[in-house]
Structures are given as C-alpha cells and as structure tokens.
C-alpha cells in the first residue's frame, strides 16, 4: 500500500526489531521478565493476525479468541492424548485455525458491519461452553523430562523468546507481503467501498476468506505457543472475551491497518498491564482489565487513528512526501489509446435481456423487460424516477438476481454470476452516486479496477495509467480521491471501469450533477469509448445531451419498457412525452434551449 514505507526499508526495520528484541532478552535478568517478553511477542502476533483481517479489510472481529483457543487446545490435547510434540502441533494448529477460519467465514461473510462483528463474538463463547462441557476445564501440559527439547520444554526461558520472535517475524513478513500486493489493495478497497470493489472485478469473497483463514492460522499458532509457555490451558483463559478484546485493543492502540501498529500496541500495553498486575494484583485483582479499558477509551477519544499515525504525523512524515507514491511514468500520458483487438462489426447482439423481472415486496421494479444491445452501440435508457433504471443495471451486473427472465452477454448467460465475475467477462459499470475508494489515490482507485484484466500487478499499473489518460485525468493521478471534484470523481470512476478494457460499459447517470462546462469533458470521453469500439449503455436525465449522444433510446416506466427506437423518434413520441416524461421533460427542453 502507498501508506507503508518502501518494502526494503520495512525489511530492515523488521530485522532491526528482531535484533533489538534479542538484545533486550540478553539483558533481562530474571526468568519472569523473559516470560513477560514472550507474552508481549505472542500478543503482538495475535494482533498482527487480527490486523490482517480487520485492519486491512475493515471487517471487525470480536472473536479471534476462537482461533487462539483452538491453537492452544490443539497443542494441549495433542500432547495429552497423542504424545505429540508442539513442534508438530503448532503448525497443525495453524491448519486447524485456517480451517476454522474457512468454516466461520463461509456463513459469516454474508453479513456486514455490526452484524458481522456480533456474529464473530458468538463463536469463541459458544466454543468455550462446548469445551467446558467436554470436560476440558483445565488441561496441564505433561512434563517431558526425558526429552525436553523435543517437547519444547526449555530450561532457559530465552528459548521461548526466540521462538515467539520467530513466529512474530514470520507474521510481519506475511503482513508486509500482503500490504504490497493486490491482496492488500483488494482488502483496502473492500474496506472503503465493498460494492464498488466487487463491481470493479475484485472477488471480494475470495480475498476476505483468504484474509480470515490466514488470520486464523497465525492466531492459532500464537495460541499454540502460548499454551506451551504457560503449561496449562483453560477455556476461559484462551476462549474468553479478554483474548478477543486484547487483539483489537492492542491493534487500535498502536494503529489499525498498519504493519507496526499491533506490535507497538503490544510493546506498550502488555508490559504495563502485566506489571501492574504483578505489583497490585493482590490488592486490585482486576487491574489488568481496567488498564485495557482505560487504554481503549483514551485512545479512541484522543487519537482514534492509533499511536503509529500520531507519531508519524508528529515526526513530520507527511503523506505528501510518501516515497512509495506511485508516479505515472513520464511519457505514459502521450501513449495513444490502447490498440484494441478488432471488434465484431456493429450489429452482432452483445447483450440480450429477455422477459427480465424482479419485485421488491409488492413493487415490480422490472416487469418483463426485453432489451437488445448490439456490439458497438451507444444506447440510452431513460425514464422517470423510480422507473427501474438502476435496478436494470444491478440485475445486469449481478448485484441483484432477477426472479425471472434471462440475460446473456456475448452468447453466455449472466444470471447467477457474482458482480466480479460479470466484470471479468467484460462488463464495467459506474454508479449513480460515485463509489470511490476515498482514501486511495486516483491512480490506485483505477489500479483496483485494472486487476481484473491484468496478468500481474505491473500490468495493472500500466493499464490504469492508460485509462487515466483516456479520460484526461493523468494530471491528478496522485491526488487522494477523497478530495476530488464531482467531475473528477465521475471521470475517475469511468477510468476505473475502463481500465480492464471492458466490452460493455454501464454508465449510471454519469452526467448527473455536472455543470455545462464539465459536461463536455465527460461527453467527449464517452464518444471516445465508442470510437474505441466499446459498447455503451447509459442511464441519463439530461435529455438534450442524450439526444445528441446516443443512437438508440429505450424508455422505462414502472419497470416496463414502453418505447424503443431512434432518439428523434422516441422524443417525438407523444405518448412517451405526456404519459411518462410529462412536464418535467418539457421544462428541461425549454431550459436547455435557452
């Protein structure tokens, strides 16, 4: 991601961190401090794991204790019942955690936001009761005096520091790899606007599942080593709410969605809570929980973005001086539009809808719509508010499944495909209300769209640069999308849909909310699309512009197609004007004529 330092510097930072931890461990005088250090590293690893799902994708989990606990019990039960060494069961725990992630994700990713967070809360707590019922109240790890090293039972606690450090570094490397690949960028896009990511061809389901499985596997490994270190496992200690809470509190305290945030959080809070607990635990038994409670409230109220960003901002490392900022290679701006493969001549039907219908409750949003768009055509869909225009697009690109009828694209049926699959087949779309990824740059927004048509990340970058050039937005490539004007946002969205070189573009009120001057730029871009051989289906209210632009009108009203034909014919159709466009259209015409 752009927000991270360059990969090379991060690798050096990880190495430096590892050396510093080893040096610290060498200086510590007592076994107790070594134990605390080990715990810091393990909680940091849990938080890194939590951050991979929740920090990058924005899906908050209140249930990471489920993975931690499964890892711990895999180690404990493996040793108790099967005499298995943690050297085997910790990696095995990773498999268990990954599988649990798949099992949990499969139903739970149907949910979003609060519902997802709440559902995640239920898993570890339900598991907790099951383990209690199974009679695993307290599992002590058997001592293996005959082969301590084989069973990870070291006399020197420093060995645990080294092991935990190894696992943490492993997790950090994975996290770093994710941040700098299309995996991380896709998660980041999901976090900011999931429907837009899906429509732009990102298989959101796949990336979320991967993130959860990876996150679960890493959390389970940390939990497994935790069991080895503490030598006893109880359901409350490993499945309890405090475990899940700690993962998210440490991450948020340090900085959510960053590589180092979870580590910083653990380095500060774990020793603090542990130290207070050791000093005052007898007098004030719950002091550890109070510390975490106060920490999370303080951080949310004073620096909700976490310590990491605060420190960076204070150091003056401003976003504008990011070194990873992708720059459009010079010369790219002058590359002519991509040479496209020869398209079939106008006339072959590209998109065919037959008798498509969908109802919401009693409202028939689409009622037996037949529509045919030939390859290379520039078709307009008009109709009053609530006529079903956007619903039509949602049905075509897979946001909604029609209850009856068929849709085929280039001879293949579309119904039942996910929006990302529809996009993969060559259908791009824009939205009535622009759906940008506001915290990414313009170029990154478009890169996300290009992934679907690009063999590798470098190609995606090139295609994105070309698409930006096509819509004339190259100069703003490095601006953050959150600060764009309406016109620029529309153009950016157009470029995002254009980047993977779709065969069909669905433009949903692309001209809405634009002034006269802005209009020309967008109209030019749309005409250029058609010149490049892209088929366009456009929903619009701005009638005058439309009449000049399109070569065919389809008129929708109350979910039915009521007229279809050349623009001049349709706008003169009195039935259309009076019954369906009414005075509003007449007014628009007079206004436009002024």
């Amino acid at each position: 991601m752009t927000l991270s330092l360059p990969v090379k510097r991060q690798l050096w930072a990880i190495l430096g961190f590892a050396v510093a931890v080893l040096a610290l461990s060498a200086m510590l005088k007592s076994d107790y401090f070594e134990l605390v250090l080990t715990q810091v590293l393990l909680w940091a690893m849990l938080s890194v794991a939590w951050n991979i799902l929740c920090g990058y994708s924005g899906y908050f989990s209140f249930g990471h204790a489920a993975f931690w606990g499964l890892g711990a019990y895999t180690v404990a039960l493996g040793m108790l019942h099967f005499d298995l060494s943690p050297w085997i069961t910790i990696p095995a725990g990773a498999v268990v955690g990954g599988l649990a992630g798949a099992l949990i994700g499969f139903p739970t990713f149907r949910l979003r936001g609060h519902y997802f967070a709440l559902a995640m809360l239920a898993y570890p707590l339900a598991t907790l009761y099951v383990f209690q019922w199974l009679g695993y109240q307290e599992i002590p790890l058997p001592m293996k005096r005959e082969a301590p090293i084989l069973y990870m039972q070291f006399a020197n606690p420093r060995a645990y520091v080294v092991l935990a450090l190894g696992l943490l570094v492993f997790s950090l490397l994975i996290s770093l790899r994710i941040e700098n690949s299309r995996f991380g960028m896709s998660l980041f896009a999901i976090k900011q606007n999931e429907p837009a990511a899906e429509a732009a061809g990102i298989n959101t389901w796949r990336w979320k599942m991967l993130a959860l499985m990876l996150s679960g596997a890493l959390a389970a490994m940390a939990g497994g080593l935790y069991a080895v270190v503490l030598l006893v496992v109880t359901p409350e200690a490993v499945f309890g709410m405090l475990v899940s809470a700690q993962a998210l509190i440490l991450t948020l305290f340090g900085g959510v969605g960053t590589l180092w945030g979870p580590v910083i959080g653990a380095m500060v809070l774990v020793p603090l809570a542990e130290g207070l607990n050791a000093e005052l635990g007898n007098v004030l038994p719950g002091i550890q929980g109070v510390v975490y409670g106060v920490a999370i409230i303080a951080i949310i109220l004073s620096a909700p973005e976490g310590v990491y960003w605060r420190v960076r901002d204070r150091l003056g490392v401003w976003l504008s001086r990011r070194q990873t900022e992708p720059t459009v290679p010079p010369g790219v701006g002058s590359i002519p539009a991509v040479p496209r493969e020869q398209r079939a001549p106008v006339g072959d039907d590209l998109l065919i809808l037959r008798d498509v219908g969908i109802s919401f409750g009693g409202v028939r949003a689409l009622d037996g719509v037949d529509l045919t768009v030939p390859e290379g055509g520039l078709y307009g869909i008009i109709g009053p508010n609530g006529a079903g225009k956007t619903t039509l697009f949602n049905v075509i690109n897979g946001f909604l499944a029609p209850q009856r009828g068929t849709i085929s694209f280039a001879g293949e049926p579309l119904i039942g495909l996910r929006p990302s699959q529809v996009c993969r087949r060559g259908i791009g779309r824009t939205f009535q209300v622009v759906r940008a990824f506001p915290r990414m740059t313009v170029l990154e927004n478009v890169i996300v769209g290009a992934f679907v048509g690009a063999p590798d990340d470098a190609a995606a970058r090139r295609m994105a640069a070309v698409a930006l050039d096509q819509v004339g937005l190259s100069a703003r490539a490095n601006a953050v999308a959150g600060g764009l004007t309406t016109r620029e946002l529309r153009l950016m969205e157009l470029a995002r849909a254009l980047a993977p070189q779709p065969r069909l573009m669905l433009l949903d009120e692309t001209l809405a909310g634009l002034g006269h001057d802005d209009l020309d730029g967008i109209l030019g871009a749309i005409r250029q699309l058609r010149a490049d051989g892209v088929t366009v289906l456009i929903i619009e209210h701005t009638m005058q512009a439309m009449v000049q632009l399109v070569d065919h009108f389809d008129v929708l009203d109350h979910g039915r197609l009521i007229a279809s034909g050349a623009p001049e014919a349709v706008v003169r159709d009195h039935a259309v004007i009076e019954a369906y466009l009414g005075k509003k259209w007449a007014q628009q015409v007079t206004e436009a004529a002024k």
């Binding site: 709440l118 429907p195 002091i287 409670g293 999370i296 956007t390």
Partner: protein, 310 residues
C-alpha cells in the same frame, strides 16, 4: 420423546417467567440501539451494577428490613433503576457522547467502531473495577419468595419469578407508553429514525441520545435487580447476559422496542426448553446457535425491516 409433558410445561413456564426478565433487559438494550445505532458491549455490566445496587439497597441500606424480606428486594430492584440511570447519564455526558451523535463526525480511523470500542472499554472497566470494589465472591439477594412456589396442576411456578414477571411486564409496558405517547418519547424515536432530519426539526439529538442511553441502562439495571433475587452473581456475571440480550434484540429486529420484548421472551423460552434435550452446560450454546441462525436467516428479525440501496 426423552421428556414428559409435565417436563415440557414446566420448562415452558420457567422459560416465560425467566424470559420476562430477559425481555426487560432487551427493551433496555433495544432503546439504546434503536435510538443511537450503537452496539453497547457494556450493557451486561450495567445489568451487573443493577444487581449490586439492588443487593446493597436491600441489605446495607436496609430496604429488606423496612419493607420486609419479600417486598424489600423488589423495591430495591426498582430503585436500582434511577441509580444506574444517573450513572449512565454521567457516562454519556463525559465519554459516550464524544463518539456518538454530533461527536461521531470527528472520529476517523476506527470509524463507526469507535463507539463499540468505547463501550467495550467501559465494559472492561466496570467488570474489573467491579472485581476490585465488590470482590469476586458470588453473592445473591435472599428472599423467601424465590424458595416457594405456586402449584398449577403438576407445574411449579416459582413465586419470586412470578413477581418479577409482573414487574417486568408492567415496566416494559410503561416504557412502551412513554415512547409512544410522550413528547420526549416521540423525539427519541424521531432521533432514532433519522437523526439528521430530527436535528433539523429542532430536536436536540444529543439530549435524546442521553435520555435513551440512561433509560436503556436504567431499565436493564432493574431487570438485573429482579434476576438477582433468584440467582447468584459476581462482577463478571453481566457478560453471560450480553449474548442473551443481543440474541433477543436481534431476534426481535434491531431497532424495534416491541420486537426486543418478544425476542427476549423467546430467548428465555429457548434457553429453558433446551435443558430438556441438552446438557445443562450447553444451554447458553443453544442461545448462540439461535442467535447465529437468526443473523443468517432473518437478520431483520421478527419486527424489523431491511433496506439497502445501491
């Protein structure tokens, strides 16, 4: 059938009686979620505070001595409401308001989760602070009612739970009337439906939130006081009820007060009925399963609506 008809009726009756207290808790949580769209993790801990408030009122403050051992705990449960209400008012004023309503606009990073996280923090502080203040020994409010029963046929009805049933249903009805018939209640519902629009209509949304929050935790505290008469509790008890409450509220439909009441009642029945077929330790797992099923199959609940636009 592994159980008899009497067992079934007994579990059903117990479910309805226990469920009424759950229903009252759910109403409290439902008011908060309905008005503020905030997931309050600390709700269970306010319940716990209600339990301890009722406990100290009936023992240390001498209500049991004054009103007698049967009526005293009931009065104490009622008075726990205003105490926790006041506490909630202060918490909202100084902490919660800064991440909800008008204050939420400034929160970035953690985004909408800032609110949940603050309530999580409050929950951790209340639980563990409770451990420091109240100690970890389980306590209970002793009342003769909870040890005697009425018999209807072969079904036994615990008197303590019957009384708490009447109180819970009565209070829930009163709250419902308050929300639907008073000016403040209507403002609260308006703020819940569309806080922006309510703001433009001259409703003080922050104040409406404060009322909702305090009322919500106060009502749940009364429910806690009622439950405290029939079971022992300690500072971590609240958490056991968090899932009960969320399951009830989600079942009823997030945002619907009436739904929350019925949802809580159903959860009570599910919990008690599950003991017919499942081991005792798994009765909470049964609630989790129901909870997950509702979320997956009908996330809008019994009374809720789903609306999403692209």
């Amino acid at each position: 059938m592994p159980f008899s008809l009497v067992d079934f009726l007994q579990a059903l009756a117990a479910g309805v009686l226990v469920g009424s207290a759950y229903a009252l808790m759910c109403v409290g949580l439902g008011i908060i979620f309905g008005a503020m769209r905030v997931i309050n993790f600390a709700q269970g801990d306010f319940l716990m505070l209600g339990m301890y408030a009722a406990f100290y009122l009936s023992t240390a403050a001498g209500l049991s001595a004054f009103f007698g051992p049967s009526a005293g705990p009931i009065v104490a449960a009622f008075l726990a409401g205003p105490i926790v209400f006041a506490f909630g008012w202060l918490l909202h004023r100084f902490i919660v308001a800064r991440v909800t309503g008008a204050g939420a606009a400034q929160i970035e990073g953690a985004g909408a989760y800032g609110q949940i996280l603050v309530t999580l923090g409050i929950s951790l502080i209340l639980q563990n602070g409770g451990l420091i203040v109240f100690g970890s020994t389980p306590t209970g409010i002793r009342t003769p009612l909870s040890r005697s029963s009425w018999e209807i046929g072969e079904v036994l009805l615990n008197q303590g739970r019957c009384v708490s049933f009447v109180v819970a249903v009565g209070l829930a009805a009163a709250v419902y009337l308050f929300l639907s018939h008073t000016r403040q209640g209507k403002g609260l519902r308006a703020a819940a439906d569309n806080s922006q629009a309510a703001l433009y209509m001259g409703i003080d949304v922050d104040k409406a939130h404060r009322i909702a929050w305090s009322l919500g935790v106060g009502i749940t505290a009364v429910a806690g006081g009622l439950v405290a008469g029939s079971q022992s509790f300690q500072p971590y008890t609240g958490f056991d009820f968090v899932i009960v409450m969320y399951a009830g509220v989600v079942l009823g439909g997030l945002g619907s007060i009436l739904g929350a009441f019925w949802g809580g009642l159903v959860i009570g029945v599910v919990q008690q009925m599950s003991t017919l077929v499942l081991p005792y330790q798994l009765q909470n797992t049964a609630i989790f399963v129901v909870f997950l099923l509702i979320i997956f199959l009908r996330p809008q609940g019994m009374f809720g609506r789903l609306s999403e636009r692209t």
